[in-house]
């Protein structure tokens, strides 16, 4: 049976400090009016009462990451010749991400299929992934923008987490999900959790009930392909979109990047930074041709990738964890659920006309 513990609310900070001796701890806290993940600082505390504004994506996939450093070395004997000195920059610390939600932790399993389990293994991703532990807080209740239950998950889904925390009277019930998660529970601040099991189970059941009815998205892959060429549909769907990309940068399952050399004189760094399919530059080709010239093409890709192309490549798994951030933080209220459902319904309507 999985190892279970209990921690009193008042002991959580002490636990984080203890974890901080071995790992770098990321925890959400208020900054301005937003809740974002920052290296844990006891004097600033943490805030886990609500889903964070931005997910802890940067823990494993930093907004910008130095892949290597380079410098050109001039050969004084032979000025024509320049030697290139390159140093790789693999990350080597370990991290604990505390207080993310099940959707946040599950999000990285979408990355894994691409960066770890595909034809090529991404060394940078791997280094961070293997050294990052997730202590995740189960949700007691979904929000109006949450739809994790539509995509095969739920408010207490342990997928991708190492430890699942469930809020119970006076503190949290802690459940080791992975072996390495169990190693995080080896602290004198934690008490035995068996007596809280029943209460935690009840919280989970209630949370599941708080979610609206799940929609059946099994037809989404084929239906999205079916409407692929109907640009009129996509223009209508994307009319209000600003093509800004906020949705992708806040998305726990968006993993696209750009690589640039940032040089200063004869030396510099090669960095990988977030990029996104909502940006027109994303598919701009060197010839000047852009296969996704309008926001309609771009939004179509965003939805299509998550709900059609990715599932087609990865055993039907939808590349969206249903966290709802793209809905609640979109400046103009684009609702990805509507986009998917209208693709599903669209064809049905067409068929009815036949």
């Amino acid at each position: 049976m999985a190892q279970v513990k209990f921690i009193k609310k008042d002991n959580v900070s002490a636990w984080l400090e203890e974890l901080g001796q071995k790992h770098e701890v990321l925890a959400p806290r208020f900054e301005g009016d937003s809740i974002i993940f920052r290296p844990y600082d006891a004097s600033k505390g943490f805030f886990i009462e609500r889903e964070a504004t931005a997910p802890p994506k940067k823990a494993i996939f930093p907004q910008s990451e130095t892949l290597l450093k380079f410098s050109n070395i001039k050969d004084l004997e032979n000025p024509e010749k320049v030697a290139l000195d390159v140093k790789e920059n693999l990350p080597d610390s370990s991290w604990v991400v505390f207080g993310g939600r099940p959707c946040d932790a599950r999000g990285f399993t979408m990355f894994d299929r691409v960066y770890l389990n595909g034809k090529h293994v991404d060394a940078y991703y791997k280094a961070r992934r293997e050294n990052t532990f997730f202590i995740t807080l189960a949700c007691e209740k979904g929000e109006t923008t949450c739809f994790c239950n539509w995509v095969g998950s739920g408010p207490s889904d342990p997928t991708g987490s190492d430890v699942l925390m469930v809020p119970v009277e006076g503190g949290f019930f802690l459940e080791a999900v992975s072996d390495r998660g169990a190693s995080l529970l080896d602290s004198s601040l934690l008490e035995d959790g068996d007596s809280k099991q029943a209460e935690a189970d009840k919280v989970k059941v209630e949370a599941d009930k708080s979610m609206g009815e799940a929609q059946d998205l099994s037809k989404a892959p084929e239906k999205l392909l079916a409407v692929f060429d109907n640009m009129e549909h996509w223009e209508e769907m994307s009319a209000k979109c600003l093509s800004c990309g906020a949705c992708t940068y806040l998305c726990p399952t968006c993993y696209c990047f750009n690589i640039t050399d940032e040089s200063d004189g004869i030396s510099g760094t090669r960095i990988r930074s977030w990029d996104n399919c909502m940006s027109s530059m994303f598919t701009m080709e060197a010839s000047g041709h852009n296969p996704r010239p309008t926001k309609a093409h771009r939004l179509k890709n965003r939805v299509g990738h998550k709900f059609s192309y990715y599932p087609d490549l990865h055993d039907g798994v939808i590349s969206c964890c249903g966290c709802g951030r793209c809905i609640k933080s979109c400046p103009v209220g684009v609702d990805i659920r509507q986009l998917v459902l209208s693709a599903i319904a669209y064809e049905a309507k067409e068929a009815a006309n036949d």
């Binding site: 209740k141 209000k240 600003l242």
Partner: protein, 319 residues
């Protein structure tokens, strides 16, 4: 909106001649509205206009070039339309402006910081004085004044400054230019170090999504923005606060004397960075130097888009 039916009627009459009319409608919860593109008669039924209709729809106009577009505007939004006309970014004969007298819109960030958990909004009722929000079974009565956008508290142009159709009564206002810059003056009183530290702190959480840029009706480079151009590579792609801040400086400079202070840049920011303050600084200077305000006169040219040998208020020859 009291005269919503009148507005709908105006739109109904105009729609046959237009490709689309842009307004607002209900969104994912009762506390939000969303832009609404009306193409068919039945779309008009879903139109809503109230204090939740925060979006400045003028942002969409340059992207709809060549189409006949109707647009519903608040006073401040109408200034963006005027500014777009001034800069020849849209054609007067292509836009049909449905204006009205505006009583202000809410600031969702303020509501969120008062209520806290806005994840489960069940109902929202608006009156002239109050916003009543039911969230997770709890009823919150908020004074409208407390949650009104700052721009609305000092609004000098609540009525569309240009319109083809105007709905309802004009709204009176007594605010002055100076009223709108009190926050800036307070900020300017700080030391340079304090100001710098403030911006470093705020900009640090920027995710470089550029929602601020894309939401801005006057930000028309968009796809060719210096922030992302690869050749030349003006800004580094690092997540360094230096580059994030640099972008805001560039944005503000590009908007100097063109920005109508609609506040969309700040509203769009997913991590609530108060970037409007920055834009206001430049506008205050423009007013000071050129006695000019953006988006009021369709025939005028913004001061930094023109060149005069001698500016009325800058006495070059006296130096």
């Amino acid at each position: 909106m009291k005269n919503l039916e009148d507005l709908k009627e105006q739109i109904r009459k105009a729609l046959p001649e237009l490709d689309v009319v842009i307004g607002w409608t209900d969104s994912f919860d009762p506390l939000h509205a969303t832009p609404h593109f009306m193409r068919k008669e039945e779309d008009i039924d879903k139109l809503k206009v109230d204090a939740l209709c925060v979006h400045n729809l003028a942002t969409y106009l340059p992207g709809l070039k060549g189409k006949k577009v109707g647009i519903v505007v608040k006073g401040c939004d109408s200034r963006s339309v005027v500014e777009l006309l001034q800069e020849n970014l849209i054609k007067r004969e292509d836009v049909t402006i449905f204006g009205f007298g505006c009583n202000g819109v809410v600031d969702q960030t303020k509501i969120r910081s008062i209520i806290g958990d806005v994840g489960n909004i069940e109902a929202c009722e608006l009156t002239d004085k109050e916003v009543t929000v039911t969230a997770s079974g709890e009823v919150h009565k908020l004074a409208l004044d407390e949650v009104l956008s700052d721009k609305c508290k000092t609004c000098r142009y609540p009525n569309a400054v240009l319109s083809d159709h105007f709905t309802g009564e004009e709204v009176a206002t007594t605010a002055t230019f100076e009223d709108g810059y009190k926050d800036l003056e307070e900020f300017e009183a700080k030391s340079t170090e304090e100001k710098f530290a403030y911006w470093l702190g705020e900009m640090d959480r920027c995710i470089r999504c550029y929602a601020c840029r894309n939401a801005c009706p006057m930000c028309v480079c968009r796809d060719h923005c210096v922030a992302q151009s690869r050749d030349p590579h003006w800004l580094s792609q690092e997540a360094h606060v230096r580059d994030k801040w640099m972008f805001q400086v560039i944005h503000a400079y590009h908007l100097t004397g063109r920005c109508t202070e609609c506040g969309e840049c700040q509203r769009a920011c997913p991590v609530d960075i108060p970037i409007l303050l920055f834009k206001k600084k430049f506008n205050k200077e423009i007013k000071e130097v050129f006695n000019y305000e953006a988006g009021l006169d369709p025939e005028a040219t913004p001061p930094l888009l023109t060149f005069k040998n001698e500016e009325a208020k800058i006495k070059e020859r006296d130096w």
